[in-house]
């Protein structure tokens, strides 16, 4: 167990060190996320006012779109330098490498969300501070489920033709259950009369899907990455 987490920790630190030096993925993802929010604002705002109950949807669309971008980019770097092969040749548990990659991506997306959530709260007058714990749980669990599948698919797609178009094509149908739970749970917290029980229900469902997705991803990473 100890070495599993040590390897995961090293892979994560490697990714984050590269990222701290260039900030490429963080900045492009962040900018893209903000653009998505703006595009949606222009699409739905009428006479200077956004309709009610759209904040949750826009937040999650921005998270999923920018998340796909970040996943594609982190593995693009590995492919470009042909370092994924070196990483996989290391005499360690493959699932540990996957876990490290996933943790790196999660930290990146958490940083993006820290900007995204206040922005959505500000632009769409969503009560983001009413239930900070519940909102954080929804975002963390939703991002985990999404990123768990995304990391696996992005890693597998490194070797496949037309990977840039295929990542969203494969990822969105599979992760929509997580998206639905995230959006409905967040909407329950953002509505005029917040429904805590409903948010709790969706958090439970997110735990359920996350457990399935993470287990299945850890399980399939090994055989899928073996040539």
């Amino acid at each position: 167990m100890g070495s599993f987490f040590r390897v995961a920790w090293h892979v994560m630190r490697k990714d984050l060190t590269v990222e701290v030096r260039s900030k490429e993925v963080l900045l492009t993802t962040l900018f893209f996320a903000v653009s998505v929010v703006l595009v949606f604002s222009f699409a739905i705002v009428r006479e200077g006012r956004a309709p009610d109950d759209v904040a949750a949807g826009i937040l999650w669309v921005a998270v999923s779109f920018s998340g796909t971008l970040a996943m594609g980019r982190t593995f693009e770097r590995e492919r470009y330098n042909d370092t994924l092969r070196a990483l996989l040749l290391a005499p360690t548990d493959r699932p540990a490498i996957y876990t490290g990659k996933l943790l790196g991506l999660l930290i990146l997306l958490a940083l993006v969300e820290m900007v995204l959530v206040p922005l959505v709260g500000l632009l769409f007058t969503a009560p983001i501070l009413a239930y900070p714990g519940r909102l954080a749980a929804l975002l963390a669990l939703g991002t985990l489920g999404f990123a768990a599948v995304g990391t696996l698919f992005a890693a597998m797609l490194v070797r496949v033709r037309s990977r840039d178009t295929l990542l969203p094509v494969l990822l969105y149908p599979v992760t929509i259950p997580v998206m639905i739970a995230g959006v409905r749970g967040t909407a329950a917290l953002f509505q005029a009369v917040p429904d805590e029980a409903m948010a709790q229900f969706w958090i439970g469902l997110l735990v359920f899907w996350d457990a399935i997705f993470v287990t299945l991803a850890l399980w399939t990473f090994e055989p899928v990455m073996t040539e």
């Binding site: 698919f153 797609l157 070797r159 494969l170 149908p173 599979v174 259950p177 299945l216 399939t220 899928v224």
Partner: protein
Amino acid sequence: MTKLNTLFIGLSAGMLAVAPWIINAAPYESTMGLVQKVFYFHFPSAILFLVAASICGVSSGLFLFFKKPKADGWALAAAELGLVFGAVTLVTGPLWARKAWGVWWVWDPRLTSSLLLWMIFSAYLLLRKYGGPGSDKLGAGMALFGMINVPFIYVSVNVWRTLHPQTSVVPTLPTDMGIPLWFCFAAFTMLFVTLLNLRARLEHQRARVEALYLAEDEA
């Protein structure tokens, strides 16, 4: 196509051809009336849609974890049949709903998750078609993620509040309605098995052709 396969396809086509008379003899449903007869096509194709998804997932697991090369052909065949039977389910469903519920579509858990599963298998087939080398393993991983939706779809109507009839409809079906249903189910299943067999054979023959070309290149 072998003679046996042709026979089975002919037989199921014959059964589908006489099905309208058998369905016509069945009684009308008390609240939905005539339109409920869509059920006799909708239910078998929906069940086989889920069966196809499960076969695809299980064969993908065999391919991925136990390195059975032929299982990949079965997975691809099952995915394609899932797409076909899923399309039948997703088209006959709204036709029934238009009359029974007054709308073509509602976003309830059963309908949404069925559409999702269909999307997953469309994505799987897109990947297999355009992914090139390496897409077989990735596809297998994808199919496993698709398969976990199956039990979710099956129980969704019993867990959530929804317009869709519950799973208990079928076991409590009166005999007059049960005979046409199982008649249609038999026809659909025979068709499914034969087509799955043929489609998998197509994939296995393709693999043989590829191996022969490789051998020719080496020689």
